[in-house]
């Protein structure tokens, strides 16, 4: 019998919520432990950051010099590397400092900011190393994570949905938040994966799964302005949890009339 596939779960700047896809999985966690060998997952116990693995999940964005080094080492030891959630894939909320003066922010929170090792930016894993596949969401959808593990075990690339939240809304029969309530909803430019959760809970989508395929962000910005939103308010909707996804970063900058690259 061949050895079990080896899996690692690494943490960078994050809230730990995406790792709960495993820790909240209940019986599935025990099944997973039978199918694979979990060699590194500090929150669950196993610690071996330098182990060679078949599949490494990375939660969190790169926000310190140490993290920038560590992600390169992880890449070298991992056959397949996948991001786990919005921080690793699109920066997370902490990436909002990329649009601000990060030094001033740090000085605003810490009495001696010079002793805190932090980069001026929080960036997605993709900007540092090659990523084999990305799981979106704040948090990730737990079923999607376990499905991805299955796919990798079977030797196929995970099929990750990239269509718009609107399509799931129609399938669920949710009344359209934008049309029937006249409230902002990011569904028309946002990737599904949540199952159109927010509209089902009577509120607009806030884009925690990042941009869908081919999002028409400019036309949608006009639509939001048609609801009475100011350009700054539209910019804040693009620059939220997934602000470092290129489509949203650019759309927000355009609205905010920010000319920096």
């Amino acid at each position: 019998m061949s050895a079990k596939p080896r899996i690692a779960v690494h943490k960078f700047a994050s809230c730990d919520g995406c790792q709960l896809a495993f820790l909240n999985a209940g019986e599935d966690l025990l099944t997973l432990a039978e199918l694979v060998e979990i060699v590194h997952f500090p929150e669950a116990g196993p610690l071996d950051p330098a182990a060679k693995v078949d599949l490494a999940f990375v939660e969190g964005s790169v926000s310190t010099p140490e993290e920038a080094e560590r992600i390169r080492a992880i890449r070298r030891h991992s056959r397949v590397l996948a991001t786990l959630g919005a921080c690793a894939t699109a920066g997370g909320l902490q990436a909002l400092r990329n649009f601000a003066n990060a030094g001033e922010w740090l000085a605003g929170v810490y009495a001696t900011p010079e002793t805190v090792a932090a980069l001026d930016t929080a960036t997605p894993i993709r900007e540092h190393v090659k990523v084999d596949f990305e799981l979106w969401g704040c948090p990730v959808n737990g079923e999607q994570v376990l499905q991805a593990v299955r796919d990798v075990l079977f030797g196929v690339s995970p099929a990750i949905p990239d269509e718009k939240v609107c399509l799931d809304c129609k399938r669920r029969g949710n009344p359209c938040v934008l049309v029937t309530r006249g409230e902002p909803c990011m569904g028309p430019v946002t990737r599904t994966g949540c199952g159109a959760l927010c509209p089902a809970m009577n509120r607009g989508c806030y884009a925690c799964f990042g941009p869908a395929e081919n999002p028409n962000t400019a036309a949608f910005a006009n639509r939001l302005e048609g609801l009475g939103l100011l350009p700054d308010e539209v910019a804040r909707r693009y620059h939220f949890i997934t602000s470092q996804a290129p489509a949203f970063r650019a759309a927000g900058k355009k609205e905010a009339k920010d000319e920096t690259p």
Binding site: G17, N24, E43, G92, V109, C194
Partner: protein
């Protein structure tokens, strides 16, 4: 003088977030003890500035994936104070039930996945499951029930989406509640068995002297409301928190330590139970009585038992709150946005969580201050280690000392990702 012995735990495992411990022993005494937190700063208090009030609840949830509801409820309380909103009783009941669901999830996760392996000699829950399959499955089942109520009320268990100023975006339907309540009733004996089981664990016998701080409510066990009280007679409302609690820079270190009147103090399940033993519903008190463990307890390791007490309490409270719950006419009350300052203080799974927001007239955040439980417990964890390690025996082999130190720290269930403003902790004693 002999060469010092250095013991390092480079990465603390089975805690939420990233931390490490450095310990230096010289001539049989602790020369240096460093609980280092290297969770990268995410600067939440700054990124809130300039955002509209309507983003706050979604933003602060992201401080902690384990206890997002605690952050949401505390922020809602502060914003509702600013806008002069009083939620309807049925909404307050639903919020309390949702918050208890998070306690179930968080406490069950800590007991089974993080702490119990320590007391039974395993390095992970999956290893423990091979010898203790029934106990592990029971724990995962209870954890799952907490998550399912969170998902019913909030859409999903991690970063739920329904809590809003004035109420909820969506209220559950009676049939949805009934189906889950049936499972909650069936789980009561399991939660009772869990409490009895935690009392049989071989917990180190170690008493310490520490002030306990928790909320206290006139009628019920505190979670979403109450005054801040301590075992030494403090009794204040949330707005007075900064007058008594200081996040001060320690002269010999770069760390911010939160002190109550210049002393470390304990928050969390043990502190809560020590101060609110008389608020347990009779059926919970009866099961606790049978364990033979008495509270208030001065043994920090009784934290795991206190967590199990709170899980059983949470099941009783959820059933009581939702059994005859009737939806109010409106899922949220209307309000007018205005400027001002508001405070929130609630009992997160790991202890009191304090928020303060200042909004301008347009409802934009001008300033935010968030004091999470783990930053409050940090000084207490160090104090505990300084007392516990010499009593355990500094002469013991490194591996034993290291394992015990980890166990002491883990007992506080430190949620380091909650650290909105942790620093690297450096304790350097005079030679």
């Amino acid at each position: 003088m002999t060469d010092p012995r250095r013991i390092q735990v480079p990465v603390l495992t089975r805690v939420e977030g990233e931390g490490a411990l450095d310990l230096r022993i010289r001539d049989g005494e602790i020369e240096k003890l460093q609980l280092r937190i290297f969770e990268p700063p995410r600067l939440f208090e700054k990124l809130l500035e300039g955002r509209p009030w309507s983003d706050v609840i979604d933003i602060v949830a992201r401080i902690c994936g384990i206890c997002p509801v605690a952050y949401q409820m505390t922020a809602a309380q502060a914003l509702e104070e600013i806008f002069g909103v009083t939620v309807e009783p049925a909404i307050a009941e639903l919020r309390r039930a949702m918050y208890f669901a998070e306690w179930i999830e968080s406490h069950a996760l800590h007991i089974h996945l993080l702490a119990a392996p320590d007391f039974l000699g395993f390095d992970s829950v999956t290893a423990m499951a091979e010898q203790y399959p029934d106990e592990v499955r029971r724990g995962l089942h209870l954890q799952g029930l907490g998550n399912r109520l969170l998902a019913l009320l909030g859409g999903r268990s991690v970063h739920p989406v329904s809590v809003c100023v004035g109420g909820f975006t969506r209220l559950p339907e009676r049939r949805e509640l009934n189906a889950l309540l049936e499972e909650y009733r069936e789980a009561l004996p399991l939660a009772e068995a869990l409490l009895a089981w935690t009392a049989t664990l071989k917990l180190p016998d170690m008493t310490q002297d520490f002030p306990a701080v928790a909320l206290r409510h006139p009628q019920v066990y505190p979670i979403e409301a109450g005054r801040i009280v301590s075992s030494e007679g403090l009794d204040i409302d949330a707005a007075a928190f900064p007058e008594h609690f200081r996040e001060a820079q320690v002269a010999y270190s770069n760390a911010l330590h939160c002190h109550l009147h210049d002393r470390p103090y304990l928050v969390g399940p043990l502190a809560r139970l020590n101060l609110n033993r008389d608020r347990l519903p009779p059926p919970v008190a009866a099961v606790l009585e049978r364990t033979g463990i008495t509270f208030p307890s001065a043994n920090p390791f009784h934290g795991i038992v206190a967590r199990a007490v709170e899980i059983l309490l949470a099941f009783h409270e959820v059933i009581r709150l939702l059994e005859n719950w009737r939806a109010p006419e409106r899922s949220r009350v209307p309000f007018t946005v205005r400027g001002g300052v508001g405070h929130g203080c609630t009992e997160a799974p790991r202890g009191i969580l304090w928020h303060r927001y200042a909004l301008d007239e347009a409802g934009m955040v001008r300033a935010a201050t968030i004091t999470p439980p783990t930053s409050q417990n940090q000084a207490r964890i160090e104090e505990d280690l300084r007392q516990a390690l010499p009593r355990f025996g500094l002469e013991r082999p490194d591996a034993e000392l290291r394992a015990f130190a980890e166990q002491v720290i883990r007992n506080y269930d430190p949620c380091i990702s909650c650290a909105t403003h942790f620093l690297r902790l450096q304790v350097e004693r005079a030679p």
